[in-house]
Structure formats: structure tokens, C-alpha cells
Symmetry: C2
Subunit: 205 residues, 2 copies
Amino acid sequence: MLESKKKQRRGEVTRDKILKTALRLFSEKGYDKVTVDEIVKKTGTSKGSFYQHFSAKSDIFLVRFTEVDNYYLEVFHSFPEDMDPFEKLFIFTQKLMRFLEEEMGKDLMKVIYSSSLNSKEHTYFLNSNRSLFQIIFTLLEEAKDQGSIGTDQCVEVISTMVTQSLMGIIYHWGIHDSDQSLESLSIPLMKTILVGLKMKNKKQD
Amino acid sequence: MLESKKKQRRGEVTRDKILKTALRLFSEKGYDKVTVDEIVKKTGTSKGSFYQHFSAKSDIFLVRFTEVDNYYLEVFHSFPEDMDPFEKLFIFTQKLMRFLEEEMGKDLMKVIYSSSLNSKEHTYFLNSNRSLFQIIFTLLEEAKDQGSIGTDQCVEVISTMVTQSLMGIIYHWGIHDSDQSLESLSIPLMKTILVGLKMKNKKQD
DNA sequence: CTATCAACTAGACTACAGTCTGTTTTTAAT
DNA sequence: ATTAAAAACAGACTGTAGTCTAGTTGATAG
């Protein structure tokens, strides 16, 4: 009954404490105004503990970022059966963008995008991208089955295109200081691609 | 006559020596296997000199990266007058991708993309992007004048879409280990967008 | 109950980018 | 030529992420 907390290993408690404290500090002062030393001091632990549970400072954000996976699936399963797959895909990407900006935040996204370029590991990010890719793939396959895709390229290639676009939109947003929302910044490109996918190779006449 | 070298300021000589040595070391051992201390030691200078001429270690790559600007313009001016603007744009992006992979290299591109996310300065990159944007803008304006764009969105927005896509393609390539060339990885998305731009809002019939 | 071993913790230590301060060299003005 | 200001330079110093090693705790097996 109360076991859930009692049985929690000593290490898990420490890990949670570090995670929560770090995230709070990051959101209060910004990621690069917070040092690992400050985190462990405020947590009453030590560097040794920190790196026992996390592989790097950025790992804190990475762990938080894995929550998107759940959100992906939640949105994916919320669509009515009979909805047009292209519409599903469009709505999916819009909700994703909104979620990333509002729940994750730009600071986090920049750290994720930056650290993924550096480390050879960045397992979380690639995994998240795999599950994102999987959902996009499923939706596009559905579209293909219905014959609404106007190109004979395989779904894998098309899914990659969509992934590339999403990354580009996010990256572009990350390096610019626009007051527009990520969601609104993503609309033109996403719409254009979807049009392009429907039309491709079907010369208009 | 020989003045060009003689009159070169002492500082310029040092700067050049550091730049060349650093680039050589980066290409020999990889960017993050080279330390600034090693660079200045091999150059026979000092940290003070290094940071007199460069604002950061990554600045070395940033300086090299500015060469793309010349290449942009060179390609841009090489197109025959009467070529279809969409074709120009497509060829332009393909040549750009090939250039970035072959002349700049993945190591450099990753550093550029990563450091642009961190610093608040990254002037070079944003400048290069501005001149890239300018060329894309010009080509798309040409297309719009010819009435070959099937949407009434302003050219600014459309240019942003293309920029987002290019960044996404490059970023995606940066974090994955594919044996395909950047150029070939970029073809599907670029083609789809161009189709989408031609078609958008023109319901087929 | 004790021994063993793995998970965990502490904090000193290392590596390295970037800063700071003081010195030397160059340039420019008088 | 003298001198003042600016540019260039040297290298010691600082800040911080991440490592290493030695010690502690707690679970499990005998």
C-alpha cells in the first residue's frame, strides 16, 4: 500500500530529488546559469550521486523530454477512426509543436537539439524521434492505403521528409527570437508539404 | 609588389597562422580532440593571441564557414537568364548541399549548428543565413512574378519555409549516421516542397 | 548472524574553454 | 624623435563539467 514509497530504493529517492531540484532551478534561472555544483548543494547530495544517476547535466532535460513520447501516443489515439489521415497528420504536428513550446520550452529544446549534435549517445532523443517517426509512418501508411498520396516513393522516405521538416522548424525557431509561436511558425511549411505529397507526380490538368 | 605580405599587420600573420593550424588539426584529429592549448602551442603563440583574434574555439569553423557566402553568389550568378526559377532554386539547393558536405564537412557543420544554439552572438551563421535567405527570396520572387506560385502567401513566408527545410535536412543529417550523401537526402523534401508551392490553393481539377 | 557484493555516496581531482592582467610592439600625432 | 594610444601578446588564473577513488549502505546468501 504505502510500499510504493517505502520500497523505493535509496538511490531512486536521491535521483528524484536531484531531478526535481534541477528542473526547478533550470526554470528559475535558465539552464546555463545553473551549475551542477549548485544542484547537488541544494539537493544535499554530491557530484558522485549526480553522475551515478545522470550521465550529464543535459541528461536532466533529456529525461524530462521523454515525456513527449506519452503525449505523442495520447494524441495519436485520440483521433476518430474515420478522420482523413492527412488531417490527422496535420493536427498531430500542430499539437506537437504547441506541446513542445508550452510544456517543454525553448530553453530545454535548445539544450536537447544542441547536445544531440555533440554526444554520440543522445539515446533519449533518437528514441523519441524513433517513436515520433513511427507515428508519422503509421499515419502516412494509412494515407497511402487510401491512395491519397500522389507519389510512389516509399512511406519510409516520406516519413523522413516530414521528420526533417519538423526538425527544421524547431531548429529555426531555436536560433531566432521571434514572438510568433512555434505552432504558427510551423503551419506554412507543413501545409505546403502535405499539398506536395498529395499532388506529387500528378501533373495538374 | 611584395608589399601585400610585408604590409600585412603582425596581428594578421598571427591570425592566419592560428587559423590554418587550427583547421589542419581539426581535420586531422576532429574538432573535439583538439584543444586551444594545442593550437597555440603548435602555432607558437598563446591563449592571449588566440582570443585576441577569435572569440571562441568554434569561431575558427565559423570563419571558414563564411566561405559559403561566396559560393552562394557564384552559383546564383551562374544560372542562365531564362531558366525556370523553380529549377534554379532546386539546383541551387542541391549544389549547396553538396558544397556543405564536401567542402565544409559534417564535423564543421555540427559545430556550427550546435554553437548557434548556444551563443547569443553567432553572428556569422545568422549572417550567412541572411544571405542564403536573400538568394532564396530573389528566386522565389522571380517565380511569383511569373505567376508560377500557386499560393498568395508573401514571398517572405515562403522563403522562410525553404530555409526551415534546408536547416531540417542538414540537422537531420548531422545527428544520424547515414551513408547517403546530404545531397541525396535532401532531394525528396525539396522536390515535394516545390511541388507544394506550385500547387498550393489550386485545387486540382 | 555474518560475509559478500552491488548500488550508492562523497568530494578531491582533472581537463579544458575562456578571462584577466600586465608587458611589448606598432601606429600616429606632434 | 618623443610620446601617447591602440593593438597584439604571454601566460597565470578561474569556472565548471565531468572523472576517479575510496568509503558507506543495504540487500542477499550461506
